[in-house]
């Protein structure tokens, strides 16, 4: 007898889980398609060299590598002799490879979605798994802010359709962060250190960030520190603004409240950025995104957040993150990465995308009881079948299958109890699997087949004509 658990950090999904997952994936697909995105799938396994060096140091370490086979396995050559393939770590790097590879087959603007699992050898924790689904949507080939606006609209429509009322899309821009660092006089080689420190602000506060900046030798001049404190104060002002809307934290911001917030942040950021050209340009881009999402489902959902940094190293422009009040992490995130595809092909091709975290969305929906609402509203069915057929007599088994075939022709989901059996057994089973109706086949004294029809919810039982059976089940 062996261990029957799934491998560490991996999960089995039983039917009830899958029904919920497929419902959410169905909504995501439908909305992505409404926004003109087309489906793409890439293999789970990539050449190791495709993935290495794209995610930063931490990412590299979390990649699951696959052991070479047969003669190719060379234990004496260290890790290099051991592995040449790996499980994909995200869906963005494979997309960049695909765009570079099929350049001539794909349209100049290529809008694709991709919903597949990714693997990371992370330490498993609550809500953190080693295999999890990402729902990515990316637009390739345009630098227009229409792309960013449409992405925000699409993910907003998805979350609204799923029943989320209180999400916010945090928006920032890598060039704002860069401009801010320039203004503060940080040396260019220290930028990534500075961003890593800033990214932790949620957890360690302004004091913590300053401490970490000192530790990493980012603040080399007194002036730098002073300016950093000024920037920190700016984010404090934003937080103060929040306090003007105490209830909004719970119920979510209204479009008007968000506009007040965004205006305040813009004013301060513009002032702080001063003459910094790329920073000011980035601010204009964000303004344009805010203007374009008006009249779309993202209206009143986008908040400028100068603290947002995003971990991945390949972003070059706007960056996003979706938050809800009752989740510490994010429901999804993304951004513009105009340099990544050029790492695979001859040509630099601009790109921007969003990734929704299916597992996080499911966790929040489960905790909020949103699936129960969907079941009540008739949008999600969790019944294992529409009707079960059973018989007491071995002679009637063929008749059971014939009746099943008739009902299936009418597109009903029909379960045949697999054994001719006493009444109690199939009824107990029908209760256990929660099937709403049961048909019992019997033979009367003249050897005619009779159908006894039971409504499992009301307990009512009646004799029913074969012809009217499908109608009884459907209505």
């Amino acid at each position: 007898m062996s261990n029957t658990q799934p491998a560490r950090g991996m999960r089995d999904f039983l039917p009830a889980d899958i029904r919920k997952r497929e419902y959410v994936i169905g909504v995501i697909k439908e909305v992505y398609q409404k926004y003109g995105f087309e489906p793409l799938e890439t293999p789970s396994v990539e050449n190791l060299e495709t993935l290495m060096g794209k995610y930063g140091e931490e990412g590299n370490q979390l990649i699951f590598k696959i052991l070479k086979r047969g003669e190719k396995l060379d234990v004496s050559a260290g890790e290099k002799g051991l592995s040449d393939l790996a499980l994909r770590y995200d869906l963005t790097v494979p997309l960049a490879r695909v765009v570079a590879n099929y350049k001539d087959k794909l349209p100049k603007f290529f809008k694709r979605y991709q919903i597949q699992p990714v693997w990371r050898a992370d330490r498993p924790a609550r809500g953190r798994f080693r295999e999890f689904y990402q729902c990515d949507v990316d637009a390739i080939g345009s630098k227009s802010m229409i792309v960013e606006a449409e992405l925000c609209a699409a993910v907003s429509e998805i979350l609204q359709r799923l029943g989320f009322e209180d999400f916010i899309i945090n928006l920032n821009h890598r060039e704002i962060l860069r401009g801010m660092l320039e203004v503060c006089g940080v040396q260019e080689e220290k930028y990534s250190d500075a961003l890593i420190a800033l990214d932790k602000r949620d957890k360690i506060g302004n004091e913590g960030v300053l401490q970490e900046l000192e530790n990493r030798n980012v603040l080399t001049k007194e002036k730098t520190k002073e300016l950093f404190i000024q920037f920190a104060n700016l984010t404090e002002i934003v937080i103060d603004k929040y306090l003007d809307f105490p209830e909004a934290q719970l119920r979510g911001f209204s479009a008007e409240e968000l506009e007040v917030l965004n205006t305040a942040i813009f004013t301060h950021l513009t002032e702080f950025m001063g003459e910094n050209k790329s920073g000011q340009e980035a601010l204009l881009s964000l303004k344009q995104i805010l203007s374009l999402v008006k009249n779309t489902p993202a209206e009143g959902r986008v908040e400028i957040n100068p603290n947002l940094a995003r971990g991945l190293s390949y972003y070059t422009g706007a960056i996003f993150e979706i938050n809800v009040p009752d989740l510490a992490g994010s429901l999804g995130g993304g951004g513009r990465y105009d340099g990544l595809i050029g790492m695979f092909g001859k040509e630099q091709i601009p790109a921007c995308g969003f990734s929704l975290g299916l597992e996080r969305i499911l966790v929040v929906m489960e905790e909020r009881g949103m699936f129960d609402e969907l079941v009540k509203a008739g949008k999600l069915s969790i019944d294992s079948a529409d009707v079960m057929i059973a018989c007491f007599d071995e002679n009637l088994v063929g008749e059971s299958l014939k009746l099943a075939a008739e009902l299936r022709e009418k597109n009903l989901r029909v379960l045949v109890y697999p054994e001719a059996s006493q009444k109690a057994k199939p009824m107990k089973y029908a209760e256990q699997i929660k099937v709403p109706f049961v048909c019992l086949l019997k033979q009367n004294e003249n050897s005619e087949v009779q159908i006894s029809f039971k409504n499992m919810q009301t307990g009512e039982q009646e004799s029913v004509e074969r012809e009217s059976l499908a109608e009884k089940i459907l209505f």
Copy 2:
């Protein structure tokens, strides 16, 4: 610049591929559900010990193993120190693990389907990939032949719905093969060698099988050889019977023709099996399956084939394989495996299943032009969107997004051309991506927005009121 090809034996699926794959998967899911099967998913990665020793020697060698990480990696300890996880090789062994693990949560009869990729480190060849989808359907917990009959009915309905008219389900039974070997006087320890040889009959003929049996020392006595030749002749008789229906090879057998064939095979097998008890019982089981599939979509599709052996070692009862005339391999196969779950749990639980090979089904459908038929019949859509919106003026970009939002509210799939541009560019793009309609936004002299609507198929262009736009696209 790096290699942008997918890894060896792996494939990228562009949008047109995915639409076809999803259509087929959609039909398979819908039919499985109609037969009362419920969805299940298991992780791609399993503990190595879960997979090892379940598939036989060849299977073991084809398992993709995952490199241990960090401190756990011990190069000095040989392969054992290198890997503790592996990619799943099929969907049956993970199912057996799941059934043993969630025994108390799952119903006594558990009917599940599972459509997921599996990985095998096979030498890639035409139609043979290292990552490919299996569409499995299994019924757990019953020894009744209803299970076999329902499985045959379900896969038959799927193939018919997809447009296959000429498939045959070959049916045999492991106990018939065993009984046949007993009758021939083969020693028990030589059974698996004998089955491997028999399985090759399609390729090497009766002479080749006999030669291989000699080489493997299966035919130790003169009597054994004689009986084997007798058995071989029996299969020759079956082949002779085929010759009675020369056209059937091309058009597929009719139900009546199949009945004639099956009756002939039964007669000869019954005679050959003589007093062999388990062989005779197995023959009765097959008779029962043939009787139960009457009045189901599998009627006239099942052919008794005493040569069918199936490679996997875990089968214990009925075995199946689906064939079409224009494919050397099979479209799917399966069988009863009453011993496998017991390898994971305390309890022996009977089980029987079918696995459809998605890739093979797609290959045949493509080669036969079946997808073109589906597109013509309006069952499969390959358009990337229902309509594209473009504008010539930067001022109208916001208006484009607003119009897109209105049309999307009516569930249309809308693509917004991401740049305000001269007329030629978006039109060329619309042609390339094959979108059926284009809306061009312009401003007239009074700064009013006007919509010019173009049917890309007819080339007709007209001015259209905003309100009637959705209707124009839908009909």
